[in-house]
């Protein structure tokens, strides 16, 4: 009996030890204390822009996260909508008090919103001094800094080198050569130029019309006179409208097709199909064209629309403004300052196939666009939407060229331009802005 108890005790001891060691019967009550650390107040910023496609927004994404890493107390969201819808939405938001803290603007919106006092003054940003003279001449056109540009975009003639070679044609270097190549393709029942309903033809009008202004002895004075109405802008643009009329009349562009061709979407699809030798659009579309058709062989050239060569249309672009009514103006300005740092901006510029607006005027390294590089400084470029021209010429020219696609002659387009200018000036007089 005594032995039996010992045996049982010996058998139970290891089991008891195991139980104690493994904690199988241990009750637990773990209480987590509330975090008593200082609660960091977070600022939420919103950034509204017209860059929305994945390829274009990667640089913005990096910039947003880079900024949040540098400023942990700020959370910034981005909302992207394709233009031109973007601008109407922007105006709705601003007018209903739902404006974002930071947003992208164009020339027309700068004129309009600046007049309404909705753009915060950015003249105290430290990155301002890094901008090139060209960029600064635009930014400071009205005496204040209402926006900072993040690129200088260019517009070019996309040339399908494979097709040109196939037909024994070469890339045109001047107007005569352009006429010859286009006429050749027309004779081959090929509509040579893909154009969209927005920027393709207005940039031709502006390039042809404004180059003499920029090449004059005192371009600033000429532009000032055009801006004030002392000189007739419509007459300046008339040669451009005439050239567009010629392009349509001689079948280089299909007007109906162009009317229904959305920029940087339908036009790219048409051109990437490989059956058309030329396309007129922004150089920023190069990455998208490559994504659409990786093996497509093409080059981008300035517009060969002069008797003695080509002309490059540029725009001080992707302008970023801060909402003057934002509850976080200073934080928003911090972000714009971050965005316009050299390295951060270069990533964006490179992704847009553009020129940097900073002093180095660096051009994106894509091989297909390198031929446009000299034109920024060789006196053969025009600014599509010059801030010193206090008219929304970019949009007015679009309306005129759309009219031409719908059947207007050059003369009618010139008349429409005059009408639109008059309406704008009248509107500005009504709201009391100069």
């Amino acid at each position: 009996m005594r032995m039996g108890r010992r045996v049982w005790a010996l058998l139970l001891l290891p089991a008891l030890l195991l139980g104690v060691l493994s904690g199988c019967n241990e009750s637990k009550n773990i209480v987590f204390e509330a975090d008593t650390g200082a609660v960091q107040h977070q600022t939420d910023l919103t950034f509204f822009g017209y860059k929305y496609e994945a390829l274009n927004v990667m640089a913005i994404e990096d910039a947003l996260h880079g900024y949040m890493d540098d400023y942990p107390g700020v959370n910034i969201a981005y909302d992207g909508i394709k233009s031109p819808d973007y601008f109407s939405v922007l105006e709705k938001r601003l007018s209903t008090g739902n404006g974002d803290d930071i947003f992208m603007v164009d020339h027309e919106r700068v004129l309009k919103l600046s007049g309404q006092g909705q753009l915060a003054d950015l003249s105290d940003l430290s990155t301002l001094e890094n901008f090139s003279d060209l960029a600064r001449s635009q930014m400071a056109a009205d005496g204040t800094i209402d926006y900072l540009p993040t690129s200088i975009s260019a517009f070019g003639l996309y040339c399908n080198t494979t097709l040109l070679k196939k037909h024994g044609q070469k890339i045109p270097e001047n107007l005569a050569e352009l006429e010859a190549v286009c006429d050749y393709f027309v004779s081959q029942k090929i509509i040579p130029i893909v154009a969209n309903n927005d920027i393709s033809l207005k940039t031709v009008v502006l390039a042809k019309g404004l180059l003499p202004v920029y090449q004059s002895a005192d371009p600033a004075a000429r532009i000032a006179r055009l801006s004030s109405g002392q000189d007739d802008l419509t007459q300046v643009l008339a040669p451009g409208f005439s050239l567009v009329e010629k392009m349509l009349r001689r079948g280089w562009i299909d007007a109906d097709e162009a009317l229904n061709t959305a920029k940087t979407k339908d036009d790219l699809a048409l051109f990437a199909a490989g059956e058309r030798p030329f396309m007129l659009t922004g150089v920023w579309a190069v990455p998208r064209l490559r994504e659409l058709e990786p093996d497509f062989s093409f080059e981008v050239r300035p517009y060969p629309i002069l008797d003695d060569g080509s002309v490059l249309v540029i725009n001080i672009d992707t302008r970023v403004s801060v909402n003057a009514d934002s509850p976080h103006v200073e934080k928003a300005k911090e972000f714009v300052e971050y965005l316009t740092q050299k390295d951060v901006m270069w990533e964006f510029v490179d992704s847009q196939c553009s020129f940097s607006p900073l002093k180095d005027n660096r051009l994106s390294e894509d091989q297909a666009i390198q031929s446009i590089s000299p034109y920024l400084t060789n006196g053969r470029s025009v600014i599509g939407a010059d801030d010193n021209l206090q008219l929304p010429i970019w949009d007015l020219a679009r309306q005129c060229t759309v009219g031409m696609l719908q059947g207007d002659s050059a003369e009618q387009a010139t008349a429409r331009m005059q009408l639109l200018i008059n309406q704008w000036r009248a509107q500005q007089t009504e709201v009391g802005t100069p």
Partner: protein
């Protein structure tokens, strides 16, 4: 056999370790996988709960909207004021209600004071909405902000079809329902079946710009097959988990379909690394456990092998001790036997001779002879007893070396004096050569070294027949030990030599070769044992080379300390030319080297005749030697004859010295 056994043990241990490691790695991988599945299942569960909350929120809006629809369904669509009033009654902060009369396109909203007619494009949008549901986020036509809206069709009292819609800013919904995981490193979206992001999380890590989920996944270089599988699962309204690269790290995508809005999914995106961080601790502990077990196996194996080795060593030591004891016992017996024999023999001789002398006391010549024999036996007995005492002292450690600065020359001279009579008696040739000895005075125990050399030489004399040769060479070599010189003593004879099997026991006590020639020679068999012990005591080494009938050579190597006070170096000789002649090559070379060391230009000749010719030739060149040294005994022309020849042919009085190594008398 033992070797094979050893390898088998090593192989077994390695196999066990490999098995343990393999099993451990499999176990850890399995645990890792299980933990990952557990973690993503938890995320999936949290995602499902988030989805449930959003569903409830949507359903609540739908219910409120349904109440409005029910309220309006009894009204006249033409009664704009009533419709507007009822719509405004539902108005609440942050939301907006509208009522659209689809037939007329008139809209009543809580933001306006009166109804207005929609554009056809706007009306078409509402006409496209069937029954009830949730609209994809859209830009509010009035505010321009992204908006989420529930809608429901209903019928007015007159059968006209109407539609009510409740909207709220998308940002508010996103703020309220965005899930976060693992300290805000994970976040969530609401997407449609095509991957379009409808409600975007505002968490720190979430993507802010891409509009489609697959832009996030596609642009990161993920494997297209996996992306397509994910796309198909999402498109089919499945619940699941996927893992993709995003911004150079792996992310886990957990997706759950919304119930209130068909075609929408809540998707949570969490860095895989973060998920595995929590599992990492368990994995780490498992790895430590595995390493501990492996280390334990190794330690146990080492312990086993060490124990085995120790046991074997103990057994071997015991065996060795047993053998040593046995050997000692045998040695003791043999010693006693030898002693009894070796002592009894001379004692018997003494007793016998004493008795004979007593018996023949009247014959003086005989008595003298007996006394002489008694003296011989007595000396033998004393020698034997001395040897035994020496051995006893050495073995008991009582023998202490007494090292003093002693002249090597004096030692060797003494030895020669002691050995010379025996050599002469046996008509043996005896030579002593000093080769390259730099230090004449060294610090050593002269008595014991003398004993060693005398033992070796007496054996050489004993075992070398008459007419044989005995040579002693002393050479100095650089010593490894600092402050010492290595002296090599080589005692060679042309005696009877030894057999190989005896050589192995040469230094054992009482060892004497079983040979008829040896038996006749007296000896205790202790001399070589004592010699070896003394050399060992001096830290030296003794070796022997011997072949039967070819003689023996004993070599003793000793490191001797240099004396504390160095004697001043002898002045070198003035510049002089010396002619040296000896027919023994070793002596010739050694002497010439010594002369050169002293600064003399030494020419050597291997015979007396050659010496004469060289001296004459030098005279002819008018370059007589300053000194001519000749060996006395040389084959052919002897030293004396050579002197005569030189004197006859060279008038000049060149000093000639004749040396002899044989005139020891």
């Amino acid at each position: 056999m033992k070797r094979r056994h050893k390898w088998a043990i090593v192989a077994l241990v390695l196999l066990a370790l490999a098995g343990l490691l393999g099993g451990g790695i499999y176990y850890i991988a399995h645990v890792q996988e299980a933990l990952w599945i557990k973690a993503v299942t938890d995320i999936l569960e949290v995602t499902a709960q988030g989805r449930h909350a959003l569903d409830t929120y949507m359903e609540k809006d739908a219910e409120t909207l349904h109440l409005l629809a029910a309220d309006l369904s009894g009204e006249d669509p033409a009664d704009g004021a009533t419709l507007l009033k009822k719509v405004r009654l539902f108005s609440e902060s942050g939301t907006s209600y509208i009522c659209v009369v689809l037939d007329t396109g008139t809209v009543y909203t809580d933001r306006q004071q009166a109804g207005y007619v929609l554009s056809q494009e706007q009306l078409d949008t509402f006409l496209a909405l069937a029954e009830s549901g949730v609209r994809r986020p859209f830009l509010d036509g009035y505010t321009g902000v992204w908006t989420l809206g529930n809608y429901e069709r209903f019928t007015f009292a007159d059968g006209t079809v109407g539609l009510v819609q409740k909207t709220r800013p998308l940002a508010e919904v996103a703020q309220r329902f965005s899930l976060s995981f693992y300290d805000d490193t994970g976040f969530s979206y609401v997407v449609d079946r095509e991957g379009d992001i409808l409600i975007r999380s505002l968490h720190k890590n979430s993507n802010r710009t891409f509009q489609n989920l697959f832009d996030i996944v596609d642009l990161q270089g993920n494997e297209s097959g996996a992306v397509e599988t994910f796309r198909a699962a999402l498109g089919n309204g499945k619940k699941g988990v996927a893992r993709f690269q995003y911004q150079e790290q792996e992310y886990v995508f957990c997706y759950v379909p919304l119930e209130s809005v068909p075609g929408w999914d809540v998707i949570s995106i969490v860095p895989n690394q973060v998920i595995m961080e929590q599992a990492g601790e368990i994995i780490e502990q498992s790895q430590i456990l595995l390493l501990l077990v492996a280390a334990g196996v190794l330690v146990l194996t080492a312990f086993f092998l060490f124990y085995r080795y120790s046991t074997r060593r103990i057994v071997a030591a015991k065996e060795e001790a047993r053998r040593a004891a046995e050997s000692a016992s045998v040695a003791k017996s043999r010693f006693l036997s030898n002693m009894s024999h070796d002592i009894r023999t001379p004692m018997n001789a003494i007793i016998g001779m004493t008795k004979l002398a007593a018996d023949q006391a009247d014959q003086p010549d005989k008595v003298r002879q007996y006394l002489k024999n008694i003296d011989l036996s007595g000396r033998m007995l004393v020698g034997l007893i001395n040897d035994i005492l020496d051995m006893s002292r050495i073995e008991s450690g009582k023998m202490v070396l007494s090292e003093t600065d002693t002249s090597l020359e004096e030692l060797l001279t003494g030895i020669v004096k002691m050995v010379q009579p025996m050599v002469t008696e046996k008509k043996q040739q005896f030579e002593v050569r000093l080769l390259q000895v730099q230090h004449e005075t060294l610090c050593f125990d002269a008595l014991r070294l003398n004993q060693v050399l005398i033992n070796l030489l007496s054996n050489a004399v004993k075992f070398t027949p008459a007419g044989g040769a005995i040579t002693v060479e002393v050479a100095e070599q650089p010593a490894v030990k600092e402050g010492c010189a290595r002296l090599v003593f080589r005692v060679a004879d042309t005696g009877i030599g030894m057999k190989a099997d005896f050589r192995e026991h040469l230094f054992d006590t009482f060892s004497r070769e079983q040979d008829s020639r040896v038996d006749k020679i007296e000896g205790s068999g202790l001399g070589m044992a004592i010699t070896k012990m003394i050399v060992d005591l001096m830290g030296g080494e003794i070796t022997v080379q011997s072949q039967p009938d070819r003689g023996s050579t004993f070599t003793v190597e000793l490191d001797m300390r240099l004396p504390g006070r160095q004697l001043p170096a002898e002045d070198p000789l003035p510049p002089m030319r010396v002619l040296l002649a000896d027919d023994d090559a070793a002596t010739r070379q050694s002497a010439a080297a010594f002369l050169r060391e002293l600064g003399a230009a030494a020419d050597i000749a291997d015979s007396g005749q050659a010496a004469v010719e060289m001296a004459v030739a030098a005279h002819g060149r008018k370059a007589d030697y300053d000194l001519i040294i000749l060996d006395w005994k040389m084959a052919g022309l002897s030293g004396i004859e050579a002197v005569r020849g030189i004197r006859e042919r060279i008038p000049a009085e060149v000093p000639v010295v004749i040396f002899s190594a044989y005139d020891w008398a």
